[in-house]
Symmetry: C3
Subunit: 340 residues, 3 copies
């Protein structure tokens, strides 16, 4: 269930209405049954509607407690008993429409033109200073001894822990920030993840209903971007240090005490273990698991899971040793040919 | 002709004055003839002065209707009949100086210190909300039901279509934005492109006189940057989705419904067809044509034109298949050598 | 000695106190001796405490005029006569703690909540315009005929030269900016460098006590980030042009008239000679020297020093010729195998 601090669903909606919104057919269930929210398969409860788009998650589907689910015809038979089904060739696209029906685009409580920079409902702890031009939205909670930089923007409902510094021009939305965190200038946290159901007649936007959770003692470098989760949260573990211009996609889980060097990027839903070091300009594709203590060389392109403690390099990334061997081998072949 | 919404030329200037400004010699034409504006070869009219710097464009030169042109001695003979010629060993550098003479650095209508955040000449449609701290410059036109985020900056003359959301801290200048567009926080649209006439005694800045045109239903991710055109426009086609920290150079033409993943970059004047997918951290060099429906793998370095529908990978990029074969071959050679 | 414009040390501290703060043992020197500041080995004077963490710098250590130094047990014997020594297995971690003792986190003279956007102590030259929403901190000095963009933030003590344009949303701190500089929107200059003493129980932040010095006629592209020095300064030489989304690490020295294309990154303490050209998305690791006039191809990963005038490509970067030979060789091997 999306955090009520940030999101208020517009429902409930009947299965019949959900079928109409999504363009799916009712494959099972009472058309008059009502559902109140959307949720991923593994966290859904009986009042939620979920979706199965990728065969990879069919076990989560079979075990899900979701009351209803959007599913492709070929996978419908794997549904657990009693689950209402909306059958469609494009379940993800259908989910996009259903989620937008529950969570229409516009935020429910917009600040008004000409309003004061700091909303009257904001709470600010003792010893905190707010620099000129900073804007703080409704119901935000700022801890003690914080510094909110000039012209920073803190969105509706955001919570910032004690002794945290938010840099000038930073933008925080849909996030819970820990204690002693340093957010450098220009950082954007909590904007929509890059989620679309691609289609030949245009791409359907997937509402992003999660948050960003930033642990204690995290540092986030200038102009880095951290998207909020699509339903699950994006999480940055305590003590992790993120350099400038880093991109963290939606649903990414970064462990504790990681070091993520400038201009690297982590694609959606990847999990990074504790004490992982990621070199500059490295890229990690989506839905991977990087084991604790792994070291990823700069400019690597990681396309598979990485074992704990492994050192990886190259694009596509291999073990650091094999990468260096390949480089050396190719250089020696070139040398040989030049000599010939 | 640069859009009068954004640019007002200081001219007219005589051929004699233009020769003096650029340090070129008059190779043809009446020194007293006057010209009123600068323009690229293919759009120039008889009152414009243009330039030819790259032999690649000599056919555009021969067919151009420009009234005058800066040209290197060796290419002057290709000029169409009646064109006034300013001959110089460094036509691009000369053009930089001429263009700056027509368009001096400073904007003609600056907002003044202490002015209100929203200029009195701005028009704002019904149902639009402007969050605290947003600055909107002279003659900007904001559509209906838009949301302008906190501390966003909208420059002189910018037009924003209906139902568009501009994120906090975004900066829009010299651009026309479509309907239902989402511009995420920290995005910079319309700043000068990276255009210089390089020289051993310093680099001469080329005035950037185009715009950025963003089509309907486009989404642009946090902290991405889109430079305005140098004379032609930079164009983002309707329905295209751009992720975070993406760089789009001047004069780039992105087609419709493209998907451009985080931290990728497209260099100046490249044309991207419809429904192209560009993976994360990929780079596309300048002046290329990427065919419709092409798929560019993450971290690719595309240095040549790409056929429609092709899949490319690697740096320099090859067909996806050959790239993967090369990777596998090198790995097998390393393995063999280890075994030996 | 850190620039008093930006930093005021909290000391003096006795050797005994410094040992307690850092967890080191006194290996030489009078416990009651006092030291007033921290400094790198090569610029330290007799009242400073410094550190030696990398064997590479042992000659600077032996020649240093620092009054005291944190050092590992195995290197202590290389100390010059009369230097007080704090011996610890983790000198860099110890230095982090010592430097934080001299320079506590919070700035000494914070602007206050509700203060006016432009501090009363700011000096602004004739002909300069400050756009709406810009925030300028205590003792900043803005030159003549400058333009400070809407919602830009200029920090305490920053100096901006004549005829310089600071874009909307730019953030400047701890920096001295030259004349005729163009800083594009969203640029962040002067934030903390990415400096940590890594440790298995968390990473210790190293106070960053240097500045950013930007020479005349420099241009810095949208959303680029330039960290301030850790003790030495980060320097951008006159006439250099930096594109969008570029990352410049702490202590980097960029020469004059360099061209640094979008999304490239230069890691800490590297020195880039004059007229170097760095292609898009290239990366240069730390502590390297790139000779004057070198050309680094896009997406290169430079891991070694580069000779003046050399052309480099690939990741890891080789000479441009060898890189292209390797690419061609691998392609020909693939072709052969396909034919077989």
């Amino acid at each position: 269930m999306p955090d009520r601090r940030f999101y208020s669903p517009a429902g409930p909606l009947t299965l019949r209405a959900l079928a109409a919104v999504s363009g799916a057919e009712i494959g099972a269930g009472d058309p008059a049954a009502v559902f109140t929210d959307v949720s991923p398969l593994d966290t859904a409860v009986s009042t939620d509607i979920s979706f199965l788009d990728n065969r990879k998650y069919r076990e989560s589907f079979a075990a899900s407690e979701a009351g209803a689910c959007l599913v492709a015809p070929g996978l419908a038979s794997l549904a657990p008993a009693g689950m209402a089904l909306l059958v469609t060739a494009e379940p993800y696209r259908g989910y996009a429409k259903v989620a937008r029906a529950y969570y229409p685009d516009r935020e429910p409580e917009p600040v008004q033109t000409g309003a004061s920079l700091i909303h009257e409902s904001v709470t600010i702890g003792d010893g905190t200073q707010v620099d000129p031009g900073a804007v703080i939205g409704p119901r935000a909670e700022i801890g003690r001894r914080c510094r909110i930089g000039a012209n920073a923007v803190i969105g509706t409902g955001v919570a910032v822990g004690d002794d945290t510094a938010i840099g000038p021009q930073a933008v925080l939305a849909y996030c819970i920030i820990g204690r002693r965190v340093i957010v450098h200038p220009g950082v954007c946290i909590g904007q929509d993840g890059f989620g679309f159901a691609l289609g030949s007649d245009g791409h359907e936007k997937i509402p992003q209903l999660g948050r960003v959770l930033v642990g204690d003692d995290v540092e986030i470098g200038a102009n880095s971007t951290i998207d909020r989760g699509s339903g699950p949260d994006t999480v940055i573990g305590a003590g992790s240090k993120i350099d400038n211009l880093v991109q963290i996609g939606h649903n990414v889980q970064v462990g504790r005490n990681c070091v993520i060097v400038a201009q690297s990027g982590i694609s959606g839903s990847s999990e990074i273990g504790d004490f992982v070091i990621i070199g500059g300009q490295a890229g990690i594709t989506g839905h991977l698991t990087i084991g604790a203590g792994a070291k990823i060389a700069g400019q690597s392109g990681v396309m598979r899971d990485v074992s704990p403690g492994a050192t990886m390099g190259g694009s596509p990334a291999q073990s650091g040793r094999d990468w260096m061997r390949g480089v050396a081998l190719l250089q020696s072949l070139v040398k040989k040919r030049k000599g010939a």
